[in-house]
Amino acid sequence: MNRQQVLTAIGFMLLLSGWQILAMNMHQILLASPIQAITSLWEMLHTPYFYDNFLISIKRISLGIIFGGFSGFVFGTIAGINQNIKYLLDPLRWLIMSMPSVIIVVLAMLWFGMGSTMAVFMIAVITAPVVYVNTVKGIEAVDKELIEVAKIYKFPFFTRIKNLYTPAIAGPLSAAIVMITCQGARIAVMAELLGANEGIGYAVGITRSNLEIPQLFAWILTTLFIVAIFEFVLFRPIQNYFMRWQR
């Protein structure tokens, strides 16, 4: 284990210890202990109810991140290259980023009703500006000297996107993707809690109503697990691939 891994492991242990200490000092109706949460999760893992809700949330988060990330990247690339487009899109970007998430939930429920479309729409709408802003900033920071090289050697538009802009913004873009993954999971749970009849958020609502606190924390652990899968299994290897030239 290297220094970074050791420190991360220590931080993780401190977090668990803090949780355990808090749980020992609070009523169990307010906070389940880590052991209760893990035991409850283990029991849930043996029920089809868990997998039905887990998989539907994974599907919604994935679709939301794909739509939000892709549209943020495409519009961010265009706006980064063309200032006029950036100025045109700025009011929309400001509107979406300034609007409270709960209002977007209400509007999405009004437009799409309860269920997956509403949740995916919400995740996409809230995450797209994050990718958009990072892409624009990344492209604006691309080395002007390299842009001159691309002009001299007459790189066509898509060659510039692939070989100049995309690698140049890989750093800020991967940071944005990690951010929207965490954000996407949180939004999915909130959207499902408020307007869906399946998914982790829906299950959280049920456990809250029934005061099943260990199960509630088991679902929280499940959400963290989903974010960890996205971040460490999917995005980190992609990030490492794009940033390999820095090693």
């Binding site: 002009k151 001299i152 007459k154 790189f155 070989n163």
Partner: protein, 209 residues
């Protein structure tokens, strides 16, 4: 001999600052021009105008070929591409198949003594090696016009000498119009067959060697 580049009363301003004013000259086939002059006089601006990176504020510029390569003061390699990929990309953009481009790139890297380092990223190469990759990238395209903007200024005199020789040999093998910007007349004379001296923003003196 055919005119390859013509400047007709060309002026260039950046904001209110006049960099070039009423400059006229012509460059012909097989001219190898050493472009001399003090720092900040506008030598780089002339190269940028020829390459199309800048547009003139007044006057007209005629350039007969679009096949232009440019070696800047800094290597300007794409840091996320290996040495060979930096050469391959412009070759493929210019219409070579991947196989052809690979053979050409290997040939030029070899001629620069860099065949062992073709898979290295620029960050792993020394300053001199990076500039050789940049030179290989420019030469590999067999341009009609080669623009060199003090390409070896950051190198020590020993490395500079060997690269100037390498460049002279490459130009001999593949004739092209060359504009070589330098502060040092002796260095320029090793390559050039004509010297143009930009003594002020509106005065360019031409002389044969």
């Amino acid at each position: 001999m055919n005119k390859i580049i013509t400047f007709d009363s060309v002026g260039k301003k950046y904001g209110q600052k006049t960099v070039l004013s009423n400059i006229s000259f012509s460059i012909y086939e097989q001219d190898i021009i050493g472009l001399l002059g003090p720092s900040g006089i506008g030598k780089t601006t002339i190269l940028k105008l020829i390459s199309g990176l800048e547009k003139p504020t007044s006057g007209k510029i005629f350039v007969s070929s679009k096949k232009i390569s440019y070696v800047f003061q800094e290597p300007r390699l794409f840091p996320w591409k290996t040495a060979i990929e930096n050469i391959l990309l412009p070759l493929m953009v210019s219409g070579h198949s991947k196989k052809e481009a690979m053979n050409i790139a290997k040939h030029y890297l070899d001629s620069m003594g860099l065949s062992e380092f073709m898979d290295y990223y620029p960050a792993k190469l020394s300053g001199g090696m990076r500039q050789r990759v940049s030179l290989a990238r420019a030469l590999s395209l067999c341009p009609d016009i080669l623009l060199l903007d003090e390409p070896f200024s950051a190198l020590d005199s020993k490395r500079k000498g060997s690269l100037v020789e390498l460049l002279a040999k490459s130009i001999e093998e593949y004739p092209m119009v060359v504009l070589y910007v330098s502060h040092f007349p002796e260095e320029a004379k090793k390559i050039a067959n004509k010297i143009h001296t930009l003594s002020s923003k509106d005065k360019l003196v031409e002389s044969n060697l």
